[in-house]
Amino acid sequence: MAERADDRLVRLLGIVAYLDGAGPVPVGELARHFGVSERQVLDDVDALWVSGTPGYWPDDLIDFDADSFERGVVRLTEARGMTRPLRLGTREAVALIAALRAMRETAAVQADPERAGVVESVLRKLTDATGEAAAALDVQLAPEGDRRVVAAVTSALVAGHRLRIRYVTAADEESEREIDPVSLHTQDEHAYLLAWCHRARGRRTFRVDRILAATELDQPVEGHDVDPDVDFTPTGDAPLATITFASPARAVAEQVPVESVRNLPDGAFEVRLRVTNPVWLRQLLTERARHVLAVEPAAVAQDVREAASAALAAYAHLPADPVDGPGAGARAAG
């Protein structure tokens, strides 16, 4: 068993403190409460049973009711004074509070007053209990998208209802479809809705900021078997592209799902990625063009050059900014 000694110690002490307050608890319930297997709980009780104060005579040891244990119920009869639950260490408090604070700020939590209230109250109780403010770790998740959309999505998730959405793809194509929502993945860069799409008859991932409108329907969701992993990697069928970036584009290697990264001299690096979506690749290369050193296959670069040239040509025909408005102030300043 690969469990670390310190993790196990925390649980061993935790079980004693918990049982001291809870009275007799069935093994299965104790295992669920601490998120471990029943086998583990039995091992833990065995370890506790022979632990105690120096001397280690029967009266020195932590003790359980043996009859009740035979029947699968753990009843603590001697705690050897270990009845106080442990306070949170600094790093534990930091990890917990930072996660809760990031969650509190999401539109998915704010969309429902009851949900927001629960997160707020648990955060308040724990900040009281941990004492110090855990500001050393500061995480902000992506703004999910339109508040009405997020409210409809989270409400449908809780109720288990089907949604009708208007969606625009990365290629700027709009469509209307009905979906059975599975889970809302609010991440640090974007938020995604994982769902069963009735139009595509399959599992689909929708970026929430591209859901233009969402309506919760009365219809309950159907029970589809959907792989819950939203970070699935593109299938091996898609063609490969190889791109060499200069050092300043380093973030690409961590933000984009790549097959491989190879470091080159001077901080340059080469990534190989699967092109499941040519529009997406064109956007990536256009955004980062200054730092692109090589592109394979060449047709991909040609596609990027043509699209950019067309846009530059359109600027040549664009009339001067005609309307006074918020942009006008910035123009005067510039």
Partner: protein
């Protein structure tokens, strides 16, 4: 000794017996008493091995929030006694509702790193020990907030922030690709828009700086003494990352029916003629607020000629700069489709 305390080589059992012994001792225990009487320490083959074992166990317990205090054991002048004060380690009463436990269960899934996962699951084990009954997930059903892994540097950096120790690491500058050693007083670790950052005080530059952790090469090392500096109370992470003053309202000329994602965040305020299109055809003028200029520029160039920037000028310049580079993508210098026209 009637019962062997667990398997003699089991460190968890040894730690447990040490905690029980030091909580229950009348005054304190000396090292000799610990070695002679606490189950598990008799295994140490030599005084040195015992010293190492005991020091390591003390560190482990301190990290878990169980501080061992030293007291004058009386008797011999240099005799130090050890004990654990339960009031110092006890969690204040926390009474959590089933729905609040559901929120905690969700938070337990938040981190993708092994280090942060360990930290948060240990926190949950401690909170579960404090009582609390059923967990109810309905109020957060279907939610899955996640943040990408921060990487190996996290543990060292967080411990250095807690201990207020300086760190040093090798860093690759974004602008030049130049690799250099940095000495930094760490203040905050932050995640924003898909990147992890360290914000702190650069000792060589004598000024606050931020560092993208993906640009740190090799290991981060804590250097120098503890309590070497104070973390300012009001560190403004967003200001340090330069992500606050670059916002504004974009005025965009958008081909009709296009760019639904931008339209959803903006307002159509008028139209402009499109000189290349047929009679009467024009573009909608759309105003879209944005927080970060470079992110808005990246988004706009993705639409190619369907979305053009009217203003503000700095956004327009950022977009045109990207387009010029893209129009010459990987062409040899001077072979120039980059000349394609763009006015002032």
């Amino acid at each position: 000794m009637p019962a062997s305390a667990g398997s003699p080589t089991n460190p968890a059992a040894r730690l447990l017996n040490l905690v029980i012994a030091l909580v229950n001792t009348n005054a304190s225990m000396t090292k000799q008493q610990i070695r002679a009487s606490v189950a598990g320490y008799g295994d140490a083959p030599s005084p040195d091995a015992f010293e190492r074992m005991f020091e390591r166990d003390k560190d482990t317990l301190r990290e878990l929030g169980i501080p061992i205090v030293t007291v004058d054991a009386g008797g011999h002048a240099d005799e130090v006694g050890y004990r654990i004060d339960q009031d110092a380690y006890a969690l204040p009463a926390v009474d959590l509702t089933p729905a609040e436990l559901g929120v905690l269960a969700l938070a337990a899934q938040f981190w993708q790193d092994k280090t942060l996962r360990t930290d948060i699951s240990r926190a949950l084990t401690k909170l579960r020990a404090a009582g609390a009954g059923e967990t109810a997930m309905d109020v957060v059903a279907g939610l899955a907030p996640r943040v990408r892994p921060v990487g190996d540097a996290y543990g060292t950096l967080m411990d250095a922030i807690s201990a207020r120790r300086a760190v040093s690491f090798t860093y690759r500058a974004a602008s030049t690709g130049e690799v250099r050693s940095r000495r930094v007083q760490p203040w905050r670790i932050a995640a924003r828009r898909g990147g992890w950052y360290l914000v702190g005080f650069d000792l060589d530059r004598g000024a606050p700086r931020s560092y993208r952790l993906s640009r740190v090469e090799g290991r981060v090392r804590a250097t120098g003494p503890r309590d070497a500096f104070e973390v300012p109370v009001d560190v403004d992470v967003d200001a340090a990352l330069g992500s606050r003053d670059a916002g504004g309202v974009a005025r965009l000329a958008v081909v009709p029916e296009r760019a639904g994602a931008l339209r959803a965040r903006g307002t159509v305020v008028g139209s402009v003629p499109d000189a290349r299109a047929g009679d009467g055809a024009g573009r909608d003028v759309l105003e879209v607020p944005y927080d970060v200029r470079y992110a808005m520029a990246d988004e706009v160039v993705g639409y190619g000629d369907a979305v053009l920037v009217l203003g503000p000028p700095d956004l327009r310049e950022a977009v045109v700069r990207r387009l010029r580079a893209a129009a010459a993508l990987v062409l040899p210098a001077g072979s120039g489709s980059a000349e394609v026209g763009e006015r002032g």
